[in-house]
Subunit: 208 residues, 6 copies
């Protein structure tokens, strides 16, 4: 490289400044099927790539003795369009993340503390259940019913990581019994007894 | 589930309200390569997921004795970003949907009334033609020239379903003879005779 | 076009024969994340693009008074890789397609006979329900719990079309009560009473 | 970096050797919707990433005074799965690449010699035509009818680059008049006169 | 649901068994651009969805005082086609994961122990660096140079999660100085001095 | 076609005008993960599909005796969403395009003048180098370090074509030595000597 000390005209024009390596979400603008519009590049700072909201323990003083703390694009705008998001699971002894699905993503579960039983049900009604300990991984294919629960005597912590920045979360019991899905339609579209439906709606706050 | 009657703090924060299971098109905003921006979630109603525009028969009193009634994203905004759209085909006896392509989607044809001949031509110039009756399906791979015509004595109805919410539609004769594609360029880029071009431009309204 | 009558050497080499406009599934070879390997092009015939299996009425003499007849890639190999598939729904009066999800696709519902109530529950537990009549369309976003039922006095027929050649189907009650998902895990991961679980397992044939 | 002179155990296991930066096509195995299976990594050489087949001028001694020489995955296996391919266009004075579509890709045209008129017709029958000179680029959106012709007194050369390793090519006149698409179906599905069809079939070799 | 106790013919045929909710990699078959062929569904067990290889600490007794232990599809076949993978980073005090890129994926970093400095350089040469503590997340956009190092007095552990089951890993210094990239080409294509290149090749084992 | 001379009501409603065959970028609106919003269709002209900015030779009077002139979406808005872009490489004798990556695209190189040596380094540190002459093609897989240099006595010209309308460009030496990446972090995350780093920062203008 002979001319190394002669820094002449720039190799490339400044137009490269517009290359979009990333697209930090502007959450105040409307979403689109591919994600949010990008924040102006000039306003992007290191802060946009960091999220500290999963550092604190979620409160497990609730009906399920567990907490799900999301770091989806709505919480962590730097994820926008990059095909990744996460959630922290805190599960007290005896706690459970009830049966749920993520309509738009597969999930990779990483246990970082305690003992976690994870399981899912496939389309052919096969059931896959596994007891995991610290450091073990489990992959949950997209859109299938699954759960996590703590099987140890101390609390468990796990990270769920998703293949979308906006994976969605549909909790079965909440969809049925905490919504305004009418009791009549529930008994027509499931095999549940009306008494069971009535009882759970009263517990979970559903109407209709 | 011991604590079932003690509904304590919510499992999840309200931030989940922003999860985008769907993205109903805001057709007044500019389109993008992935579709339209989403209508604000708070304004979405059941109405956005329904489309009644294909319930009525299309008029076949025209040059082709047939009608194509689209339910693309422009007509049915709830399709936005979901990779699906449809069209209703009404074909009177002797009617025909002339040779055309969909630049951005494959098509699944479902015959629901009458008798339909469908066919397409592949890149290697192979021709695939089939006479279909009620209830039969035919798959038309993306971007290839194809047609549908009624071969029975009564009218035919079929639904064409597409693998995009905005599949496009390029009708061969309209592209050539109902446009301002100049006669000179047509004869240069096809093997058609100038007289044929002139005649069809006069029929279909082309200029240039 | 002066030289039109002198057909000289071919414009293009025969190598174009290998262009893959389509990829009819070779179902005897292993599947892959993108679909099945392609049947040799020389063996593809018109027959590969046709499917007649939805022309016949499905039997509704069963517990749900309804039938789902699939035309997924396993039944209709021509769909492979083209991002589309279908199913025929036959619903006798009072019949119902119970709550279910498609883990890998959105669904466009087209009612072609009778009266159908369709509904889905979104991630935020909003419920969208609509009574449809012949010719109406309804879009069901990917991965969410939904159902169809007949609300008229005569049978209903509808086509469900999917944005994948292999959309999957997880029927909620079957996943829970017709599988070997243990009663203990069901009661831990839902709020259902053990008696309800026991009863439905006995009805639907589940074990564990 | 204190320990720079003490090269200790390898940072990473040899399992990284299986990372697939690329997937050179094994053309002897069946294709799939996502492309061909990969050649074993151990057999990949620099030669797999090079293609010299576009270096030679294509013969323009034919009915269109032009030649299209493809470098698709079938000719250049290193392109497999990488979303790119190319073709060389040689167009003698007065020559033309007739109206055609690429069912599976957009095209970027780069003129490297001579003068080229390029044009396409959009779904709404708008026509976009432009005379290009050396070094100019033109973008042709996926699946639309387009053409290229030489408008100068010397030959023209251009490279067409595609957004797929297997873009497909459907030449309008060949699809209609060099295939076994029956004359009866052609006149039914276009507005062409039977005499015109008969004449062009005789020129281009079609049957049926 | 009147007929609940009369379990009649099955709702659906057994053909649903072929629905591919997942596609566990058959690593003995050739890879493809979309991933490996699927293991036969009948041979899939719960074990295929679990990976324990990240539970053990990686050895940091090496030149970088750090270890990267991958859980890519080659190690964890259940990830195949699901758009996710992971790696465990162990970084002793003073250790560093040197500058590297992942050619095919974005990375979400989750610190689970200790203190980690992470940084990346964007296309416009902007530098984003952040000191992270336990529980904090950082998103690294696809394909950009980045690094992680321990800035605390005790070892750090982090999980890197990727938006592909096969993200790739190109370590800058290894690409330059542990390969057979010739010294002549290195000095021509970087601004490095020949003495520097020679020294680092001797340290890292490069040739040429 | 009996009724050919009676052009009756239009086959299709005007709603087709909104079909988006293309989406010319409105560069004044914010970008999104899928590209820019579309310019209003009514304002699109032929000019939007043409780019003349690569017709002129780039100046090679600089430190690398070479120039890269981009035709990315920021320069050529018609490319938006179509999965293609290009750049012109001018390389004087002895000139070099230094080691760089494109984070978001594979590259197809087409040599149109002179002699070009091209090479890339794979994830497993294999090196692939090839001397190309006019008309030869080389494919560079996404995200890997690569270079181009002129090995002849006259200048070389090549077109690089990319599988994205916004491929990105990270030049290794500029990322390290023309940025504000601190010398301390450079020496920690590479094996480079502090003196080398200091020297190159002074040449290339880096700080920190």
């Amino acid at each position: 490289m002979f001319h190394i000390f002669f820094l002449l005209p720039l190799l490339l024009s400044t137009s490269y400044a517009s290359v979009n390596d990333f697209c930090v979400a502007d959450l105040k603008s409307p979403d689109s099927p591919a994600g949010y519009p990008c924040k102006p590049p000039a306003k992007v700072t290191t802060h946009d790539f960091v999220y500290a909201g999963l550092a604190a323990e979620g409160s497990t003083s609730n009906i399920i003795n567990a907490a799900v703390t999301p770091a989806f694009v709505a919480q962590f705008p730097g994820l926008n369009g990059l095909g990744l998001s996460a959630a922290r699971l805190d599960i007290a002894p005896g706690g459970v993340i009830p049966l749920h699905t993520h309509p738009g993503a597969s999930e990779l579960l990483i246990v970082t503390e305690g003992l976690v039983t994870v399981g899912f049900i496939a389309s052919d009604n096969s059931v896959y259940v596994k007891k995991l300990s610290k450091g073990q991984l489990f992959i949950l294919p997209q859109g299938l019913l699954h759960f996590q629960l703590s099987y140890g005597k101390s609390k468990a912590v796990a990270y769920a990581v998703f293949s979308s920045s906006n994976p969605g979360l549909q909790i079965l019991d909440f969809a049925l019994f905490a919504s305004n899905f009418s009791s009549s339609l529930i008994t027509q579209t499931t095999f549940l007894d009306p008494e069971q439906v009535k009882k759970l709606k009263s517990v979970l706050g559903g109407s209709g």
